[in-house]
């Protein structure tokens, strides 16, 4: 680990000031950042500890929604009574990730900002355009079983590894951000970026901006499902995951909000997939049509070709489950 300065940010404004500097990173739970610092993937000269800034509460919003403090831990969020009753897909997604020990320490804001687990990103002796722009992508033509099939570029095929943000995308949540230019809200769906020619840019946070909360809209009806496919049954990143909020009225889909993990550099949310289901009677043909839309531009890199049929089958499983439960 390289020597670094550690500062406890006394206020949100000061945290913004500190992290506006190029060399400074904010630290909350640190479950991802400290690992990356030991590997020298991350090399901040200064860490601004934001743990004592407040915004750790989980509280009702005026309009029936729920605000999750950015510094609330993943565990606190997953076990919160309202999360469990009104947003079970979120609770399940969080509990499907990491381990109990990591979830106890990891925060909601940090979870959104976690970095890819691409093998070539975490090995500083290998090329990676995300870590070292212009050095190349080791994963393309390398070991790419876990890598993306949607929204890739010739610069990067890494995936966003998290589960929580996939559920938040399906739930239509927004991220509350504070910075020196004031506050703004961004839908979770628009928070993460595709790699394009700038794979080192992973989300829309500007220097000095800090996530303060995540707002869930008022709960809706229907069945909520989080389905994570993986080789071992815990402590593994998703080969593919599906977060779904689905409702059937009179035998037809009346709600279909879907987001996917393990497929891209961001939680994948293609509104056309849900739209094609609305008003339709569930059938294998319909599910295939949804999968066709979802996977229209999917492209494998050899080792991860299987993700294309696996995604199709997993979508079938989720839609079948919702249909059977409703029947």
């Amino acid at each position: 680990m390289r020597p670094f300065q550690y500062t406890r940010a006394p206020s949100l404004a000061e945290a913004s000031n500190l992290t506006a500097g190029k060399d400074t990173l904010a630290i909350a739970g640190g479950t991802n950042l400290l690992d990356l610092m030991k590997l020298q993937v991350e090399k901040p000269g200064k860490l601004a500890d934001i743990n004592r800034l407040g915004f750790a509460d989980i509280e009702d919003t005026g309009d029936g929604g729920l605000r999750l403090g950015a510094l609330a831990t993943n565990t606190e969020t997953a076990v919160h009574p309202r999360v469990r009753s009104d947003y079970p897909v979120l609770s399940r997604a969080i509990l499907a990730g990491a381990t109990q020990q990591l979830r106890n320490k990891a925060t909601n804001g940090g979870n959104l900002c976690q970095r890819t687990r691409c093998f070539y990103f975490t090995n500083i002796d290998q090329p990676c355009n995300k870590r070292e722009p212009g050095s190349g992508c080791g994963a393309i033509d390398g070991i790419a079983k876990l890598h993306a099939i949607l929204g890739t570029s010739d610069q990067c095929i890494a995936t966003y590894p998290g589960d929580m943000a996939v559920a938040l995308s399906a739930l239509g949540a927004t991220v509350e951000i504070s910075g020196d230019k004031g506050e703004r809200s961004v839908p979770v769906c628009d928070f993460h970026c595709l790699p394009g020619d700038t794979p080192w840019i992973e989300n829309i946070l500007e220097p000095g901006e800090i996530i303060t909360g995540i707002v869930l809209p008022a709960p809706v009806g229907g069945k909520q499902i989080y389905r994570k496919v993986r080789e071992r049954s815990s402590y593994a990143f998703a080969l593919v995951s599906v977060a779904a909020v689905l409702e059937l009225t009179n035998g037809r889909f009346s709600r279909a909000d879907l987001a996917f993990g393990g497929l891209a550099h961001k939680p994948w949310h293609d509104p056309r997939v849900g739209e094609c289901l609305l008003g339709q009677v569930p059938s294998d043909a319909l599910f295939d049509k949804a999968a066709d839309i979802l996977l229209e531009d999917a492209r494998g890199f050899g080792e991860n070709d299987f993700k294309i049929p696996l995604t199709r089958r997993t979508l079938h499983a989720v839609l079948s489950q919702a249909t059977e439960d409703a029947a």
């Binding site: 020597p3 687990r117 070991i143 993986r230 080789e231 071992r232 089958r313 499983a317």
Partner: protein
Amino acid sequence: MTVHFKQDEPDNSNRLDGMKQGVLGKPLPRIEGLAKVTGTAPYAAEYPVENCAEGVLVTATITRGEVTSIDRESVLSMPGVIAVIDDEKLCTRAAQGTANEAPMQGPAQVCYWGQPIALVVAETFEQARDAAKHLNVEYRVEEGAPLDPGAVEPEEQEGETVHQGDLAHAMVEAAHSIDVTYTTKGHASAAMEPHAAIAEWDGDKLTVHASLQMLNYNITELADALDMEEDDVRLISRYVGGGFGSKLGISEEVVAAALAAKQVGRPVRVVQSRQQVFQTVMRRSETTQHLRLAADDNGKLVGFGHEALVSNLPGESFAEPVLQSSHFLYGGENRELMLKVARIHRMTAGSVRAPGEAVGMPALEGAMDVLAKKAGIDPVELRLRNIPEDDPEEGLQFSSHKLAECLKQGADAFGWDKGLRKPRQRREGEWWVGTGMASAARVHNISEAKARVTLKADGTALVETDMTDIGTGTYTILAQIAGEMLGLDPKRVLVELGDTRHPRGPGSGGSWGAASIGSAVYVACKAIREELAAKIGTSEDKLELNEGKTATGESLTDLLEGKDLAREGHYEPGDIEDDYTASGFGAFFAEVRVNHYTGETRVERMLGAFGFGRVLNAKTARSQCIGGITWSIGLALTEALEFDPRDGHLVNCDLAEYHVPVHRDVPDLDVVLVEERDAAASPIQAKGIGELGMCGGAAAIANAIYNACGARLYDYPMTPDRVLAAMPD
């Protein structure tokens, strides 16, 4: 006084069964368990050593070539940095098990990506690690190093080839024949405690605390690497946080710490990072295995073919002994066996738990299931019909053979349905449910061993040997053996292990520890009993000892008259090794669920029945079996080393990305310990159990996957992508 016993004949006396203390075989908890779970048992890197500097290995970022320059100045000015060591004695690979000589040295020659090339020493670990990452190294790269085992012309491994009869003809003529090819991926030991050493010099005398399995060999390897006399070296490994083969020989950090400590004139600690342990110590070779089985109408084998391709670095003698149990497990007069080694530039391949059978048995037992299906015979029955009378190649008699009992007792305990087996008969929601089974076999290894037992004047006993306990229960079983022989509660027996100042044991490896060192303790105790018997005018075989007293009421303390009574037991396997084929046997039964949509496989329940001679401690033996079965689950479903196709580096080099099973992957496991006394295995009638539990278990899972969903897979691990590719519509 040393008592030497060389075993040339089977020992059917079963003396231990006649002893009166009644503690051997009992499920006693591990003596050192409390110290370990409370963090008070120091592991190698945890010994408090004053003024200790910290070393971090620097590893190569090329596949093959030469280090042309190391820019020491680039790091010597960094805070806390003391030295950069690139001594030609630095080891570039770990020693193979029982090598008894230094592993490859000379860090300037690079043979694989990740090879240690230097050591940076600093005041703190963080300073050393930072400097190690900043060290500028220049190379002359030798392009074109072969990396793909399938793309080079392999060498035939000597001593493995068998041509008997005419297998090709038998395959054509036989009522049933199958010809299949299985593959397995590389595996890592993934021991919890990383490889670590603290080296201290006192003049020309060297002491190293290290995490090692076989001190008796390791001291020779270290002395050889440093051009020293063994008498000037002391190795200490009292507690080892798992080895699984990766600590059989000394690894790079041991020699590096010793050289650095000499050079900087103070103690030096070197701990390999998790990534370095994965990338520089040992991999189990991947395998490609061609199996041909031919059987008559009754399912009796008439032809048996098993040919395997494995890989290793140039210059390594070790070749994953895939065919080890295939030579004797089943009959069949027409036989073709051959092992080939591809020389490639991935990291060193060596022993990982149960080298050979760990991967050979899952392939063979998968093939047996294919044959059972083709011949329409119940898989348990097929195996029962093919247990040979004698070793089918050597013609030797078996020392003892419990495969049939294991198959029968295991099938009963599991509730094996002997009805007609067809895939896809049971569906629960999205899940296909099915069962499968496989035989287990693991050759019996045994070695020369020495231990000193002292019956103390105060009526307690002391056992001393440089044997290690790598988490298997050695401390406890030795206390039980000594307690049984000397009529003492094991609590009154102090066991001192893991120090080369003690008599030389065999070390822990190849499942030979318990039977070998247990026999040395037995020999020493027997000699002490002879002395005691003489004191009361009886013979040793009539001496009864229980709770520190003889049958006639004399206490040991009275008999000893204030003097300690010490004997060194020296056990040596003699002709029994050549006169018999000896092996542990067993049977696995598994029930699995396979998800129709996703191809995910989860093990619902699993049972193993094992015969491995005398059970020395029913708890630690069962734990070994459970650990083995857990490894079987990993081998079957998740564990796979992935190597970059362009530079050969190990890509998934930590516990997050190399997927050993987690708790949720391991259901309740059931173990049946089949009663056995193997008179030709050892004087204590025991064989090994450290490895048997994973020798074939993966096939029970693979065969259950087929029974569940109809997907017949030939490639381990059977990950969702592979299951889906083979899943019928």
